[in-house]
């Protein structure tokens, strides 16, 4: 039986099903825990479940805690051979609402693979700012106008937060490279304890892009250095995706409606320079350039 099936309700061109099906390709059969978010809405409406593996959704904030409970229960029942436990959570559920539970799960060293599907805002409720929304991004809670040039703060560094918990396996990936997702999901299961995988996934409506552009835009985020693809094992950076010719961030920004105000806003140039500085810093820090 397929682990994830057709007929789900995702928008045409959505990145989430690509991430989910490729993770499940490597880890199924498994137990799936889902937080509230787009993925829950599109795949688990009553009578329209798209899941072929055991699936549970409880609340927005407690996906990590539920997964921890399942892991302990399976251990107590002696059923540890039935497959790993995988959490699929959105960026808001990971970085804002559920960060306490996530921190607790990391701290108690539960044997759980936590996958954060990062589409950079609360896209399920219509594009509100989350902790993982990047600088300068238009959302309905950080609108661009006289007062604001989009979001002011930086994107929360969840990878560093996971590393600070001494999580044995931490990695980022992008839906533009699904084979990389498959390899990382498989590699993660070799580690005992908590695992954190963050997958960059385009949102058609929130980012203001066409469905067919989703993959090229996700690829551009990597190629500009704004979304570095990293892999840490026991706190050490073991692999990065090198970029042959790093592109200017403007190329990535101008394709999306959520950034289009930067081209005419009085402070837009400032923000664009800031984003370029972040990309340069990433390239320096992780050695992205060949």
């Amino acid at each position: 039986m397929k682990a994830f099936g057709s007929g789900h309700g995702a928008c045409p061109g959505c990145g989430l099903p690509i991430a989910v099906k490729n993770v499940l390709e490597s880890v199924a059969p498994c137990f799936v825990v889902n937080s509230t978010g787009c993925l829950e809405i599109i795949s688990s409406q009553y009578g329209k479940s798209a899941w072929g593996v055991p699936y549970i959704h409880s609340l927005f904030e407690n996906a990590a805690a539920v997964a921890a409970g399942i892991e302990v229960a399976l251990k107590a029942l002696g059923r540890t051979d039935e497959g790993p436990i995988v959490v699929f959570a959105g960026d808001g559920a990971t970085a804002d609402i559920g960060i306490g539970m996530l921190s607790g799960m990391f701290d108690r060293r539960h044997n759980v693979l936590y996958v954060c599907l990062d589409n950079e805002a609360y896209q399920n409720t219509g594009n509100q700012q989350s902790g993982l929304t990047p600088t300068g991004c238009y959302t309905t809670t950080t609108p661009s106008g006289k007062m604001l040039p989009g979001k002011l703060g930086p994107k929360k560094d969840m990878v560093a937060i996971a590393l600070a918990h001494k999580v044995p396996y931490v990695a980022t990936a992008s839906v533009a490279f699904p084979r990389d997702i498959r390899r990382k999901a498989k590699r993660a299961l070799d580690f005992d304890g908590p695992k954190y995988l963050q997958i960059h996934s385009p949102c058609v409506t929130g980012w203001g892009i066409e469905g067919r552009q989703a993959i090229p835009i996700a690829r551009l985020a990597v190629e500009t250095g704004l979304y570095p693809i990293l892999e840490y094992e026991y706190g050490k950076l073991v692999r990065v995706r090198k970029i042959k010719q790093r592109k200017p961030v403007e190329e990535y920004l101008k394709l999306q409606k959520r950034y289009r105000h930067l081209l005419k806003h009085p402070r837009g140039y400032e923000i664009m320079e800031e984003l370029q500085r972040i990309a340069d810093e990433n390239a320096m820090k992780f050695g992205l350039d060949v």
């Binding site: 039986m1 057709s6 789900h8 099903p17 072929g52 084979r179 067919r212 989703a214 993959i215």
Partner: protein
């Protein structure tokens, strides 16, 4: 003892009864001559409606390139066009559905 009756339990893969194929205005068409059977479209398709199948015996000799060919299940394809973009052989083209052709009256 709590009893869970079937009324409250969702069955696996019930989504298969939802035919999402009529969502989009466009649909992909595969040029079987050009298809190199690499599976790139299969791995990217968000609706899981592309699969690689064995090329029919009669056509195997004509195209020596690949033994496999991509096949689309139009019951679920939402016409996003991702397969057209990612195809390295440019074998997939999006076409407008018949009912959307012509002028508005």
């Amino acid at each position: 003892m709590i009893r869970i009756t079937l009324g409250a339990v969702s069955k696996p893969l019930e989504s298969l009864k939802i035919k999402t194929g009529d969502w989009g205005a466009e649909y992909p068409v595969i040029d079987e001559e050009k298809c190199i059977g690499c599976g790139e479209c299969e791995i990217f398709c968000p609706d899981l409606c592309i699969e690689l199948v064995e090329r029919p015996e009669s056509k195997k000799e004509e195209s020596k390139k690949a033994k496999k060919v991509a096949k689309i299940n139009y019951n679920y394809c939402k016409g996003c066009g991702i397969c057209e973009v990612v195809c390295p052989a440019e074998a997939i083209k999006m076409e407008l559905k018949e009912i959307y052709k012509g002028e508005l009256k």
